[in-house]
């Protein structure tokens, strides 16, 4: 990831590959999502722009597949397996992430500046 000198670092882009885990009959990812174009964006504590209706990571299970893969609380999910997530309903996002025949999902996420992310993760531990 290259920084453009002089530009504010507003988003760090990460590629995250999550290997789902069988939990009884279910494949779990170990994180929760909030957001969607059918949701109220003003309730999102992680977005910079309170009108942002994107899909955000609202919880990450400790030691779960998502955390192991490098997903972090507050990450904004831009794509799942190449599919755009910035203009979808909450349920469409859920569906893209929980396809039964896929045990790996590749996410493209943006994360607030390295500084912000570090500060945020320090608050979690």
């Amino acid at each position: 990831m290259s920084f453009i000198p002089g530009q504010p670092v507003s988003a760090v882009v990460q590629r995250i590959e999550i290997h789902k885990l069988w939990d009884g009959d279910n494949l779990i990812l170990g994180f929760s999502i909030g957001g969607g174009i059918d949701q109220d964006p003003s309730q999102n504590p992680f977005s910079e722009d309170k009108a942002d209706k994107g899909i955000y990571v609202t919880r990450v299970s400790k030691g779960g597949p998502a955390e192991v893969a490098g997903l972090r609380l507050g990450d904004k999910i831009m794509q799942v397996n190449g599919w755009d997530m910035t203009m979808v309903t909450h349920d469409q996002a859920r569906k893209k992430l929980t396809k039964k025949n896929e045990d790996v999902v590749r996410l493209l996420v943006t994360r607030r500046s390295l500084e912000d992310a570090v500060r945020q993760s320090m608050m979690q531990h």
Binding site: S10, L29, N44, D84
Partner: protein
């Protein structure tokens, strides 16, 4: 669903000239759903797909139609830049870009190839200098606007189809060329370059900046528009990310495509296309309304919207 009255009130915030409206290069805002149902009647596979695409984003955006000549992609991006940019970008702020044409001309003999869509008594280098100076001034004027109204008036003045508008569009083309030259040079040195560069210069017709200019860029606005890889170059040149809703790609991963796709900019410029040929502008649907003191305020979330979180 928004009632027609609400939509009309919101459209009033985008001034549309009563006289000479047909001269405007960017139309007033209109509802996407209404537009879609009017333009794409019928039940062919294509109509259904396009309407589905419009419907998917209709709750988030209104449409502003852009004059449909071969400049439309540049025009749509320029419009979004002038109407939304929050600050002068570093590259514009830190340099006197009107010096760039002379610098390029002394380095390589490109500018003699340049085509302008208007008459000019100046030399091509001088005219490009003028175009870049105009871009700097207009961008500055836009970000320094004291109110939403002032900004919208300023944009409306620019997009009237006069020489000024085309000078700004030619300025954008010059920036693309200059960036192409830099990136090509970086590639030859073996430095890191964005992915799209390889595609840009892999085309037989544009193996280097000179042929890129001769075979592609100088024709933009005349006999051709921008290819997708050139959209990446445009975004990269401006240090912006262009997000395009591509309706004919509805139901595929390419429905929403970012140019360039490195997501460096957290506030992309939003465009819409039905076919990757003609581009229109998307404006966010939630306009600030005005409180009792005439100050703009954001719409409160409408009823029925929840804020759920789902465990996966």
């Amino acid at each position: 669903y928004r009632g027609e009255e609400e939509i009309q009130k919101e459209c009033a915030l985008f001034p549309s000239a009563a006289v000479g409206e047909t001269q405007s290069s960017v139309s007033a805002a209109e509802d996407l759903q209404t537009y879609s149902e009017r333009e794409w009647k019928g039940n062919t596979t294509k109509s259904l797909l396009i309407r589905k695409g419009y419907e998917a984003i209709a709750s988030e955006f209104n449409l502003r139609k852009v004059r449909g000549d071969n400049y439309c992609a540049l025009r749509a991006v320029l419009f979004q830049v002038l109407s939304q940019s929050k600050q002068l970008p570093a590259w514009l702020h830190d340099s006197d870009i009107s010096k760039w044409p002379k610098e390029m001309h002394s380095d390589q003999d490109f500018i003699t190839e340049w085509q302008f869509p208007f008459e000019t008594s100046k030399s091509k280098v001088q005219h490009l200098e003028q175009c870049l100076e105009l871009l700097t001034n207009k961008w500055q004027e836009a970000v320094q606007s004291k109110s939403l109204e002032e900004r919208k008036r300023m944009c409306q003045q620019v997009f009237r189809g006069h020489d000024e508008e085309y000078e700004l569009l030619e300025a954008l083309k010059f920036l693309m060329l200059r960036t192409a030259v830099q990136l090509h040079s970086d590639m030859e040195k073996g430095s890191d370059v964005p992915e799209f560069c390889w595609l840009l210069f892999a085309r037989d017709s544009s193996k280097c900046p000179k042929t890129f200019l001769t075979n592609h860029l100088r024709h933009v606005g005349f006999s051709g528009g921008l290819e997708q890889v050139e959209m990446c170059l445009l975004g990269y040149s401006l240090q912006e990310t262009i997000r395009v809703v591509r309706l004919y790609k509805c139901d595929t991963e390419e429905f929403i495509t970012y140019y360039p796709n490195d997501h460096k900019n957290a506030s992309p410029l939003c465009l819409l296309t039905e076919d990757d040929r003609h581009y229109n502008v998307l404006v966010p649907k939630k306009f600030p309304k005005f409180d009792a003191y005439g100050r703009p305020k954001w719409n409160p979330p409408s009823d029925g919207q929840s804020s759920i979180t789902t465990r996966l």
